[in-house]
């Protein structure tokens, strides 16, 4: 089986091609603001180096967040368009689960900085079972035992992702219709929050 993997939800872009449970190509680098100009040339390189074409892909694994709103959408727009046009199923993956694939003896608390004291956090065990679901939460409100894993500046480990572990965990899944795979932001936009507050106050 041939899989394409895309995660652009954090400043670190991960693009990989997996052929029969082996990583045939991987790009795993901090890309930051260049995400939107970098991702397609990287994907082009991935196919060139593995001598595959998009038509050869059986499933597309894509991270749907949480993380950078724009970052999530950049990778997902590519995945959705490719999957829809070539009729390939999409398997949506949590960006926190990808981070939590880092080898560790403890449970992993994957973190992405969400500013103003908030983080996106998910707690996973070593088999990537979800111990606590992904959340937008104050760092100080996380009540879980485990090691912080993050690209951002938290005390703990830096991610050393184990892509095959993530793939293995999800590859039996049927996959979803690309049209209906959408980001999991875990957070409303500021405008929606303000409107909600206003409506809640009006209802009091």
């Amino acid at each position: 089986m041939k899989y394409l993997f895309i995660d652009s939800a954090t400043a670190t872009l991960v693009v990989a091609i997996i052929i029969d449970n082996e990583i045939a190509y991987i790009y795993n680098k901090e890309t930051g603001k260049d995400m939107s100009s970098t991702i397609m040339p990287v994907i082009e390189e991935a196919f060139a180096q593995t001598a595959l074409t998009p038509k050869d892909i059986d499933k597309i694994f894509v991270s749907t967040g949480p993380g950078s709103f724009t970052g999530i959408r950049v990778g997902l727009a590519v995945a959705k368009t490719m999957a829809w046009s070539l009729n390939i199923p999409i398997i949506p993956i949590s960006s926190l689960e990808v981070i939590a694939s880092t080898p560790n003896t403890n449970n992993n608390i994957a973190l992405i900085d969400a500013r103003r004291g908030y983080v996106f956090a998910g707690v996973y065990d070593n088999e990537l079972n979800e111990i606590k679901e992904d959340k937008h939460i104050l760092l100080s409100d996380i009540k879980a035992d485990g090691t912080y894993i993050s690209y951002d500046d938290f005390e703990g480990l830096k991610p050393q992702i184990d892509l095959l572990k993530v793939i293995k965990k999800h590859e039996k899944e049927q996959g979803e219709n690309p049209h209906t795979v959408n980001p999991k932001y875990l957070k409303l936009t500021e405008a929606e929050e303000n409107l909600k507050k206003k409506n809640d106050n009006a209802n009091k």
Binding site: S36, T70, V78, K80, T81, H179, L195
Partner: protein
């Protein structure tokens, strides 16, 4: 040659298939206007969120409507700027992905070039011409010697004309999007308020923030004196100044550049007051005026497919590193 075009620079997700730069085969426009109306204007993050939810559905629908598949398409054209960066990126990433997966040429199209070429779908452009581009984000006078050659004569120094309309609408309690309603009110009122003719100088530049402030101050002062303003009359007074200065500078450009063709483009080209005035002036001065029907005035991918064809003929191509640009000079 069939071009599949994608436009997502603001709050419309649109995909179109255009033949030879002139013939519209199919267009789908998904407008988010009703959602943004809840917030009194376009919320960029919400616009981006809606684009990603709809992009593949809109592409599919356009192909279905055209009864075509990706294999029938010769090239992909996409708006890369200017516009809302998060919104632009969705259409851009989709376009780059299709170009890569199907080995098609990728044509980068400037949003304003698109608005200008909307007129090409109505009638083949005749050169040289002057283009007056007026929308919520733009107010530009452009001279075109030939296809895809753009010389900017002037533009707004502050607010775009459509932006000024929306702000004035808010001040006189007209709901968003205010432009069309202010235009309607303007036809019912009288020019009774003393408003300045903005930036009435020898340049081809425009300025609408002073006029907007004059409206705000007048409304404020009248309120303090306990007087109600008459919205219809304020709309008429405001619109008359806008139409006057747009017409004056456009007619001056036509005369100075000795050009007989005028095209008007952009969302504000739907304004009835301006259409009436320009039609009259052009008739009196022997100018060929083209204003597209309303569906081509607002953002749509058909215009991007039309512009994309002429960009393609000039050899314009982008590679897969093409990025979105929030602001970008027309070239």
């Amino acid at each position: 040659m069939y071009i599949l075009a994608i436009e997502s620079s603001c709050d419309e997700t649109s995909v179109s298939i255009i033949k030879g730069g002139k013939e519209e085969i199919a267009t789908v426009v998904l407008s988010q206007m009703d959602t943004h109306a809840n917030y009194g204007g376009v919320v960029p993050e919400i616009a981006s969120r809606m684009h990603i939810e709809n992009i593949t559905l809109v592409i599919e629908e356009a192909l279905k409507k055209a009864n075509m598949t990706m294999d029938d398409i010769d090239a992909i054209a996409v708006t890369y700027g200017p516009g809302l960066i998060g919104s632009l990126l969705i259409g851009l990433m989709a376009a780059k992905t299709l170009a890569f997966a199907y080995k098609k040429h990728l044509i980068p199209v400037h949003h304003i070039a698109g608005h200008i070429y909307a007129n090409n779908l109505v009638k083949r452009l005749e050169f040289p011409l002057i283009a007056l581009v007026i929308s919520g984000g733009h107010t530009d006078l452009i001279y075109m010697k030939e296809d895809y050659s753009f010389e900017k004569l002037g533009g707004t120094l502050d607010d775009a004309v459509g932006e000024a309309y929306d702000k004035v609408a808010r001040v006189i309690n007209v709901p968003y999007p205010g432009g069309p309603l202010v235009d309607k009110l303007a036809h019912q009122g009288q020019d009774t308020y003393n408003l300045p003719l903005p930036l009435d100088d020898d340049s081809y530049n425009f300025s609408f923030s002073g006029l907007k402030s004059a409206v705000i101050n007048l409304v404020h002062n009248e309120k303090q004196r306990g007087n109600e303003i008459i919205p219809e009359n304020m709309a008429t007074s405001f619109q008359n100044r806008v139409v006057e200065i747009l017409t004056k500078k456009t007619m001056k450009a036509l005369k100075e550049y000795d050009v007989k063709n005028l095209i008007v483009a952009g969302g504000v080209a739907a304004n009835k007051g301006l259409r009436e005035r320009l039609t009259k002036e052009c008739n009196e001065n022997g100018i060929n005026l083209t204003i597209p029907e309303i569906k081509y005035c607002t953002d749509n991918a058909a215009m991007i497919g039309a512009a994309g064809y002429y960009a393609y003929k000039l050899g314009r191509r982008a590679d897969l590193s093409l990025n979105a640009k929030a602001s970008e000079r027309l070239k």
